[in-house]
């Protein structure tokens, strides 16, 4: 920002701002008519026309007559974002696998790839090389040029330059991921904690769309959470927040690598589920899901997941009491839990949490985005600075 607080906004700045707002609206909510754009953005129809014409000329949007008409009069033109006008690469680094996707304007996934990490493949050098190579193959095949990159990492990341301090489950320490990936891909890059990214995805495109206060909690090998507070992501000093999995719920529980004992992660993470289901450590994700799906009777569910349910409830009650969200979205492995268990946990949270009672019952839902939530969120992170420029 060059202007001082006392200076007024110049017309070209206003225009730029309106253009970005319009593009963001089209990017997040999809094709809309000119008329409804005017209503939603509170702008004059002629302003909208000028903006849309400018965008259409540079190939960022396309206008078409809507197929279904509503009401009388000349139909308003439908404005469609063009996916190829701006393409970003989204990277989701997890403990057991890495996924990448090329995502176009409007959120369409144009191409994707993923691979398992075992043994040496999870070392930073191998991951970075593989990400760069397969991104270049995909981009060449699709004939697109990337304008940005967003990366999700299961660890503590410095926001300003994407320096990974610690990703314990990956056994990474002090990896200058932002510099190395950004340099090789030669695009602006943004890197953030996976739970924060997933919360962003749910807030923009998923179950938490339209709610100003929401918490996203996911279980992978680790458990993490992202908080949307008053419409934007809650970040601690330098962006280090989201270790909800290391809140202690069972002081007499198992020791955790973080130095504490009985962390939430040790009671409701993937390993805890494997223990409850009597599966050996390191069972593939799909086998855990298959086993969870095979629990059909209420008696079996209680017998196998009784303790797990109690610890899930305790953690969620704490989270609801601290952050006071409208809803809590459960993601990743939690989505494979029996629906009856989720609703029972939701009811129990409403009963035990006084904040939940005060706001009229915090809803507990599962994510509908499946395992793609972090890819979608990473793409949105990459789009943040890009929308001003296209």
């Amino acid at each position: 920002m060059t202007s001082t607080p006392t200076a007024g906004a110049r017309p070209d700045e206003v225009r730029r701002h309106n253009r970005t707002a319009l593009l963001r609206r089209l990017h997040v909510a999809g094709p809309t008519t000119r008329a409804s754009l005017a209503t939603e953005l509170g702008l004059n129809r002629s302003t909208i026309k000028a903006l849309v014409d400018g965008l259409a000329e540079s190939g960022v949007v396309e206008e078409r007559l809507p197929r279904a008409r509503s009401g009388a009069g000349r139909p308003s033109l439908l404005v469609l974002p063009q996916a190829h006008a701006a393409v970003v690469v989204a990277v989701d680094i997890r403990v057991e696998q890495v996924a990448i996707a090329l995502v176009g304007l409007g959120g369409e996934m144009l191409g994707r790839n993923s691979w398992n990490l075992h043994g040496r493949a999870s070392e930073p050098d191998e991951v970075i090389t593989h990400v760069i190579e397969s991104t270049q193959v995909l981009a060449a095949e699709l004939g697109v040029r990337m304008v940005g990159a967003g990366v999700s990492v299961p660890g503590v990341v410095r926001r300003s330059d994407g320096f990974v301090h610690e990703a314990p489950n990956l056994q990474w320490t002090n990896v200058p991921l932002g510099d190395r990936l950004g340099g090789a891909l030669s695009v602006p890059i943004r890197i953030a904690n996976d739970a924060e990214i997933a919360a962003l995805a749910e807030h923009l495109r998923g179950a938490a769309r339209g709610s100003l206060d929401a918490v996203y909690v996911s279980a992978d090998v680790g458990v993490g959470g992202g908080v949307i507070s008053d419409g934007s992501a809650l970040r601690g000093t330098a962006g280090y927040v989201g270790e909800l999995g290391h809140m202690v719920v069972n002081p007499r529980g198992r020791p955790c690598y973080c130095g504490s004992r009985g962390c939430w992660e040790t009671e409701v993470g993937e390993l805890a589920l494997c223990r409850a289901l009597k599966l050996p450590e390191g069972t593939p994700r799909g086998a855990v899901v298959a086993e969870l799906r095979s629990l059909t009777t209420p008696e079996r569910i209680t017998a196998v997941l009784g303790d797990f349910r109690e610890f899930l409830t305790i953690g969620l009650v704490n989270i609801v009491n601290v952050f006071g969200p409208e809803l809590v979205v459960l993601g990743d492995l939690f989505t494979a839990l029996p629906p009856t268990l989720i609703s029972a946990v939701g009811a129990e949270v409403s009963r035990r949490s006084l904040v939940s009672r005060a706001v009229g019952g915090t809803r507990v839902l599962t994510s509908a985005m499946g395992s793609d939530v972090k890819l979608i969120g990473a793409a949105e992170l990459a789009f943040e600075p890009v929308l001003d420029m296209v």
């Binding site: 994707r112 993923s114 398992n116 699709l142 799909g286 086998a287 298959a290 086993e291 395992s371 793609d372």
Partner: protein
């Protein structure tokens, strides 16, 4: 831990005088990708066709979900929930995605097909697999790329609630980038809890997606091991020589003692 979804023991198959499969044991677990590898002529495709009921077997037991079953034809296999995807894309070019997914099993009465419900089911299935690369479910298959066609063929097996999906070299006819997309889908299939068998010649692909590797050597199953316990080199030795260190066929000198 529950039983394997599909377990084959002592399977034998001959074509005339040629004994193709010798006492083959093969296990498929729900939620895992099992790669089936072997040299040309090792019997990979024959094994898959026996499981799918296309070839009758000479001897051997098959148990599905812990129950012994007999598979006498493709219909039996389909009824159990075993679906096969071939490399030569068994789709009808002149029909769209919805029509292909429901081909031969259309919904609605004889006079009026329930297009709306079929379209919705097709869209939901693609969404459940997070397939976001296909624009419209009414696109004719002829205008899709090889990778997208293979995606439709695989999604078809999910739509019919299969328990086990056998993929016979699903990427053999595809380019590098499209191969990646199909393998990505294969893994997501397993993450939904299906048992997936992937035949492949490409070691890199196998190591990227498989949880377990089963190696056939001259019609014998020489090893079924978790991917994380073996190296590329060991698997190549198993494919070409049938043994690698302690893995694989017993050495003849130790067998005689």
């Amino acid at each position: 831990m529950s039983e394997p979804i599909l377990e084959i023991t002592g399977l034998n198959k001959s074509f005339g005088p040629v004994h193709v499969l010798h006492d083959v044991d093969f296990t498929v677990r729900a939620g895992e990708v099992t790669a089936l590898v072997g040299d040309n002529g090792a019997g990979k495709s024959t094994l898959v066709k026996c499981v799918a009921g296309i070839h009758p077997t000479d001897s051997g037991q098959v148990s599905f979900n812990g129950r012994p079953v007999t598979i006498n034809g493709p219909r039996d296999a389909a009824d159990l929930g075993i679906e096969v995807v071939y490399q030569d894309l068994a789709l009808a070019d002149n029909l769209d995605i919805v029509q292909n997914m429901f081909l031969g099993r259309e919904r609605g009465s004889a006079w009026m097909l329930d297009e709306a419900s079929m379209e919705k089911a097709a869209r939901d299935t693609l969404a459940s697999l997070s397939v976001r690369t296909v624009k419209s479910v009414r696109t004719p298959v002829s205008s899709l790329s090889g990778g997208q066609r293979q995606t439709v063929a695989i999604a078809k097996s999910v739509l019919w609630e299969s328990k086990v999906v056998l993929l016979d070299e699903p990427t053999a006819a595809l380019g590098v980038a499209q191969t990646r997309q199909v393998l990505d889908l294969v893994r997501r299939l397993a993450e939904q809890g299906l048992g997936v068998v992937l035949i492949s010649h490409n070691m890199a692909d196998v190591f990227e997606v498989a949880d377990r590797i089963a190696t056939l050597y001259l019609g014998r199953m020489v090893a079924q091991v978790p991917t994380r316990d073996v190296t590329h080199g060991q698997v190549v030795e198993l494919i070409t020589a049938g043994r690698s260190g302690d893995l694989g066929l017993a050495r003849p000198e130790s067998a005689t003692v």
